[in-house]
Symmetry: D2
Subunit: 332 residues, 4 copies
């Protein structure tokens, strides 16, 4: 798929139509491409936990996170309802020496490592499966495709495509000096189908139907070193709009990246905002993860040369949510 | 272990001392009994995903949940930052027909299916591993044993002990008529070591070092049928104080139940409050889960007679949290 | 105005048209009847603070308030960010012995004593002054008539109409025994124009243009004695739909009651929901206050026979809010 | 009072002792210097509302406010529970054409215009009136001096001291060029007793017992022009530590400024943190307001030469709060 930059509306509409999965799993579907992740796929994935080592792919949910208020996205506010200090000083009035602590959180569901639910993005007023956005996601939440429906499904074969490491190395593509030498793509770098397939080939791994694909750009490693900057909402490496066809044809169940927005920023069309989201969420029904921390897993994969694993990334079943924080666990 | 009801302070102190794991994993330990869950155990667990069928063991995070404000625990408040309605009506000003929805949550970390972190309970001002509670959990959160440290660890072999089904059947122990016949223990029913071992035997399953043990009482099934009532904070079936020895000797990594408080309520000592928590969390370092939904998994286990499975129950790495919501996934 | 119960739609439409103030203060108006409260009125009000005694007319903002989750309205959740306990134990690391405490609140803006903003209610998709509701109050808040615009205005002459005391006394109208004898109207009691004018006459007070009128039903006194019950969202005494004409003709600036919903509940039309709101907020532009605590002020007025006073009830200027908590202060 | 910069501990202890009001209003006092604001004072204040013009002295409570997370202080998060968009599209299912909007806020109580409660600051583990901080402000809030106790009291005579205008004009004291010429004091400018009395004299106003004194530095005007920068928590003009004696001797009821922290920042002792707070809140029992917007009022006072007015600044009675947002209303 080539990119015609002169006609964003047309390009988006074309891709939306070409790669639509509307109706593919019936009128009532609330799972989208998660339908590809079946029991056979899970059995295949379960065979990959050979060493028994586990990795958390979640960033922390932390007051000092990257959010700065864009789209009213703030960092989590974590407060204590009861403390050890009060327990130690006898302020809790509990019997026999017991004391307790409790806590509370307020957070946008997109503040840190997260899944985008199927109700997170619309295309010309249409939500996943061709439904009217205005009847699906109201102020009462997502009344149809709330992320609670995915609660039991997101566990299967995971594949890491460390594009930062494979493409970024020695990269003359790097904007900031030395970025490439650390296995990082520069901001604004558009990952194409060619990059994805070359990376898979370099890793000796095959991406297939029902897989959960993790694409590492290295941006998180960079901001971890240099400071958050505009990590949440700013420029970033990410998938090119032109990968829509590959995302569709590969029949993967889900994809996640170490960036805030999955696709390349700035977007490839002038004046556009997340056109690949517009194609893959409402039209393709693809589950998209963002702000994942793939660095420790990637280091291990580089060590042992094994880029496939068992992955569990279950969203919290928050009724009517259009996204969910998640702590994905990879086991090799 | 027998129960001397005349001396709660003495009984608690005795159990705390007898079953303490302080220092067992070094001065700096932040994992407690999760240390039992090693890579060998994970390999053993990974072999259990034979059919590839997955179960979510999480209740929903829902405004209409069981919380009524006890200990300032409320149900989650989920609000939308952007809606499909606004997207459809063109209120979002986004280019090329894209629209979006975002959301926010405010919730006590103990409001629904959850893990108790090691900083959740203290014994006479002492937190896990003998630390001073007042230096561990302040208004800034758990500065030492925050649940973020467990992020990568909680994935291993799970075992279901469906005590409700094995002990509750035909039960003259039932207070409300017919409860026993549905595989449910009545409120106030104290599950003893004998019940646990009899259940394991009936299931043909062995509980061992590093396991994550799930104890089903059937209370959640009952309140789902009859209404929440006092599910959050009220009377409940649960583990007897006398199981402390078994919990210690078995060297399990974690335990979870389908009740709000894990142990039997009312507690077995007059005027006591959660004495088993007081022993197992700060002294034993045991990871305790509450309000899990074990019903669908239990039905499947009853069907195929297999009560062991691969279990991933990763807490959200909320910095300094003393608990975490979780969507545990069992795969058989 | 008589009440035709057979045609709620017609009655509402008729009143909406008859008592509309659309355009009265120009196309751009964001104040509604607050326009009646001018400087002359304020000078008149300032003369009423003769004794210098002040009354707070606010209920507390308290976790143990009346809300039960109806319309996702919960009680406030107040948590501490820093505590005196930590300060005393030296956990704050501050120099020279200083310590501090900070706190946080999460609350629906309608949870306790409050003003309804002009964007709180719509009539057939129309907001105040004839604007399209869908362009005024989106998920981004009230973009036009947000309560911040009223910040400086709500200070003027207050008049108490203690209908509970005047009409409720000895009342055969009372449902619960003895309610009338305490100066309380029973739930479901519809206060008519006749009740309002009889009460003003009994008090020897005249209601005029630009006044802020406080109507006491006594319901709050009753629930304070008997328990919250369904105070927030349930049955209540309150203004009859038929008072719409009086509310319009009197040219008052604002009105507030000691009930959750200002108008009588159940409403006077079968199947209706707050029809008087539907007339007075979007069509008349009237500022409506709810859940005010008028009891201490009313006792004082009964004592000295003076039912007029200086009243300041400034909403918090929360950008885009459709309501605001308020602590109204009456000075006599 | 002169300033000995070599001995901060000693200077603070000396001032704390010299200007203590502990016990002055009895053992059980919860009002501090608000005790000075009596009915006679209110009568005096009520006489000042001559023109009937009112001013809101509150900044907005806005997502785009100055907070950046220091001390976990964030800007308010305002979300909608119901919207006009949903009402217009018929998503609410309400009868007869009525629609509604509701909203929710999460905010630190110190995020914008606010009062510091008496439980906000401690001195060597002591709270107001000599109480133990650890027994007064726990994780359950301020159990003794919660701001709800002040609900009815904060209405009286207000006096504006526009130090920015009087002292800042033509000021060689200004760090940033031209600041003085706009009636603004530069950051780090310490306002002394001499500045206060010179300002009062220039205004022709007398500060007396029971007054609520508003000190304008002009910093808010500057940040409004130049961007928030470090307005919340950074350097600022403000009261010198040496004004403690004047604050005590004048017997004012309360004081407020247009800065985040009332006293000069950086503080006048090396390594100190808010030493004047440490003296005036826990020892003197003084009510302190911060982040007030005094600019419109100050412009009017400069116009008509009248610097006294009726002021109502009632905190929300949030149970157990150590601070409260407030919309203060001045009437001249």
């Amino acid at each position: 798929m080539s990119l015609d930059r002169r006609d964003p509306e047309g390009a988006i509409a074309g891709a939306a139509k070409a790669y639509s999965n509307w109706g593919r799993w019936g009128e009532d579907d609330v799972l989208g491409t998660l339908n590809f992740l079946d029991e056979a796929k899970r059995r295949e994935g379960m065979a990959l936990g050979r060493r028994g080592v586990s990795f958390s792919l979640s960033q922390r949910f932390d007051m000092n996170g990257p959010q700065k208020g864009w789209r009213r996205r703030t960092n989590p506010i974590h407060t204590m309802l009861m403390t050890g200090t009060d327990a130690a000083l006898g302020n809790q009035g509990s019997p026999h020496g017991i004391g307790g602590a409790d806590d509370l959180i307020t957070m946008p569901l997109q503040c840190s490592t997260q899944w985008d639910g199927l109700g997170h993005v619309f295309d010309h007023g249409k939500a996943w499966n061709g439904r009217d956005a205005q009847k699906v996601v109201t102020a009462d939440g997502d009344l149809v495709t709330g992320i609670e429906h995915m609660a039991a499904h997101v566990a299967g074969r995971g594949v890491l495509l460390d594009v930062g490491r494979v493409i970024g190395v020695g990269g003359g593509t790097s904007r900031s000096s030395g970025a490439g030498s650390r296995g990082e793509l520069p901001d604004g770098f558009a990952i194409t189908e060619e990059h994805l397939t070359a990376t898979a080939e370099a890793h000796g791994v095959i991406v297939g139907r029902g897989d959960i694909v993790l694409v590492r750009t290295g941006q998180l490693a960079r901001v971890r070193r240099e400071g958050w900057g505009e990590y949440a909402g700013g420029d970033a490496p990410g998938l090119s709009f032109t990968t829509a066809g590959w995302l569709h044809a590969s029949e993967i169940a889900a994809i996640a990246t170490d960036t805030w927005g999955f696709e390349v920023r700035p977007n490839e069309f002038e004046g556009a905002f997340q056109p690949l989201h517009q194609v893959v969420i409402p039209n393709m029904g693809l589950l998209v993860g963002e702000m994942w921390d793939l660095d420790a897993l990637a280091a291990d994969c580089a060590d042992d040369g094994v880029y496939e694993f068992w992955l569990t990334a279950a969203p919290l079943p928050i009724t009517g949510a259009v996204g969910s924080p998640v702590n994905p666990i990879a086991v090799k």
